[in-house]
């Protein structure tokens, strides 16, 4: 398989295997018609309604939506942590021995009883990577997130932002095919978030892994993503997709551009109805406006 990681958009890379047989590169993640129905107290609750989504190799896709739209549920299904009611998820593996996916949770999901080093090495240790290799990888990633001096510290000795650096290093060090992130910056204060977004961009740029990133923050989604997928209120399904075309490597300065503001506004316009719907409020004359590109 050729290395397509350096390409950002799918259109840029039509992989030709043999001269007479042009074939498009298959998507890294294929989510087709995934539905999730919970058994509620009185009636079944549809959390996800036939979600289909393709993510290309090396693509950074952000999923935004109102709270309770099932975006975290979708991510957990992709991660194989909970079973879907119907539909299918396929992740194309490349290297054997590499895990398919690693998750970044919110910052309180790192283990308080393990040191920074023990947290970061956890995934490699669980899948039995050789000691020397896993320790080198963990030290490398601890250095890359700027925690070299804190390798032996326990999480309680760290700030929230430092803890989430541990969470990020834990996932990156595991060297997965796909990174899945569930509102990783959701519990942090505004300044720490900005700093970590910048850092995430830098870390991701080093090897441009395929990412699915869940957030409720539109600006975070635009800054980080190649594509922003907007989900509807429950039952959740993709409502619209927005392509983000800022050049890579990208930094926080793109937030100052008028394009950023206008895209942010367009996404908010589309999200607003869903946010209102998720709160159970009826707007006067509140028909849903037609949206741009359907996913």
């Amino acid at each position: 398989m050729p290395d397509s990681r350096l390409h950002g958009s799918p259109s840029a890379e039509e992989w030709t295997a043999g001269a007479q047989n042009p074939k498009p590169m298959p998507p890294k993640i294929v989510i087709s018609n995934v539905a999730k129905v919970y058994q509620g107290r009185r009636q079944p609750v549809v959390a996800l309604d036939r979600v289909s989504l393709h993510v290309d190799e090396g693509e950074f896709v952000c999923v935004v939506g109102p709270s309770g739209c099932g975006k975290s549920t979708l991510l957990r299904i992709v991660a194989g942590l909970i079973p879907q009611t119907s539909g299918e998820v396929t992740i194309t593996g490349g290297d054997r021995g590499k895990p398919l996916h690693s998750l970044v949770f919110q910052e309180y999901a790192i283990f308080p009883w393990k040191t920074v080093f023990e947290n970061v090495v956890f995934g490699l240790e669980m899948r039995g990577a050789p000691r020397a290799a896993r320790e080198a990888a963990a030290q490398d990633w601890i250095g890359r997130v700027g925690l070299r001096d804190f390798a032996d510290a326990y999480p309680r000795q760290l700030s929230g932002g430092m803890r989430q650096r541990v969470g990020i290093a834990r996932a990156f060090a595991n060297d997965p095919e796909v990174l899945l992130m569930d509102e990783p910056l959701g519990a942090l204060d505004a300044q720490t978030r900005l700093l970590l977004m910048d850092e995430l961009l830098r870390l991701w740029d080093a090897d441009r892994k395929t990412v699915v990133y869940i957030t409720h923050d539109i600006e975070e989604a635009i800054l980080l993503g190649d594509r922003v997928v907007l989900m509807t209120a429950r039952p959740g399904k993709p409502k619209a997709t927005f392509t983000v075309s800022f050049a890579r490597p990208r930094g926080i300065e793109v937030m100052a551009s008028p394009e950023f503001a206008s895209l942010s506004y367009r996404i908010w316009e589309a999200l607003r109805d869903e946010a209102i719907a998720s709160m159970g409020i009826r707007t006067v004359g509140g028909g849903r406006r037609g949206m741009e590109t359907r996913a």
Binding site: F105, A109, W113, M126, Y154
Partner: protein, 263 residues
């Protein structure tokens, strides 16, 4: 004077003042010396009983009973609690039984335990083991069930298998609450051993206090109280010390309570 120095003075001065008041009250006849012997006499008696080895002998006997029973009750209680916490059907099946037995005061079954194990050491160790077992199994089960789901999810997300989950996530996640159970159980072990020695022993600190009552020597009773209080403090400190060793990631002790008014 700095706030800290003042606090220390208060903490040391208040008990000293209280003891002085007690001494004075007995001397002027406000307190009946038959029930509340003057502290000077209590301290002198305590010194004499330590000196002639009486108190030490009884204390050692009680401590051996407590440690023996506690070791059996704690190890079996933790093992059973870990099983119950991780295996749901087992928990559902046994929870009502354990809860019912838990609320039964263990002193109440002392006669039954003596009937089964006789009047020797075994019955004393057995009653302590039973009392600690129920406290620890309940606390350990709750500790395992109470491990934050996000840690379990993170463990599974990184591919931990059953035994790895147990060793890396469930056990360390449950340890703080298990230690709370151990501390509670050790306090109860002291109570139970004293009660057992009141009625069914020829040695031990409980027997010593009971004997002092029979022979109308209140100052010896008070000497016994000093021993029991010291044992309580030492056992609490020991569990805490072990806790710090086993769980180095834990918060250091919080500042003492009631420190709100340092304005």
């Amino acid at each position: 004077m700095s706030g800290e120095a003042r606090d220390r003075l208060l903490a040391v001065g208040a008990p000293v003042l209280l003891i002085a008041l007690w001494e004075g009250a007995v001397r002027v006849g406000l307190l009946d010396a038959r029930f509340f012997p003057p502290p000077s006499l209590v301290i002198a008696t305590f010194g004499r009983l330590i000196g002639d080895g009486t108190l030490v002998r009884h204390t050692v006997v009680s401590v051996v009973r407590v440690l023996g029973g506690f070791a059996i009750g704690a190890s079996s209680g933790i093992a059973a609690g870990l099983l119950l916490g991780t295996i749901r059907p087992l928990r559902v099946a046994l929870d009502p039984v354990i809860s019912a037995l838990y609320v039964l005061p263990k002193v109440a079954i002392l006669p039954l335990v003596m009937l089964i194990f006789g009047l020797g050491e075994t019955s004393k160790i057995a009653i302590v083991a039973i009392a600690t077992f129920f406290i620890i199994i309940i606390n350990t089960t709750a500790a395992v069930v109470g491990v934050e789901p996000i840690y379990l999810e993170a463990g599974r997300a990184f591919g931990a298998r059953r035994l790895q989950m147990f060793a890396h996530i469930i056990l360390p996640g449950a340890l703080p609450a298990i230690f709370t159970g151990l501390r509670l159980a050790l306090g109860t072990a002291l109570i139970v051993v004293i009660a057992a020695e009141f009625v069914a022993a020829q040695q031990g600190i409980g027997y010593f206090i009971w004997f002092a009552w029979n022979t109308l020597r209140p100052e010896e009773m008070f000497a016994g109280f000093i021993v029991i209080s010291t044992l309580g403090i030492l056992s609490y400190a020991a569990v805490r010390w072990i806790g710090h060793r086993v769980m180095p990631w834990q918060e250091d002790d919080r500042t003492p309570e009631g420190r709100i008014d340092h304005g």
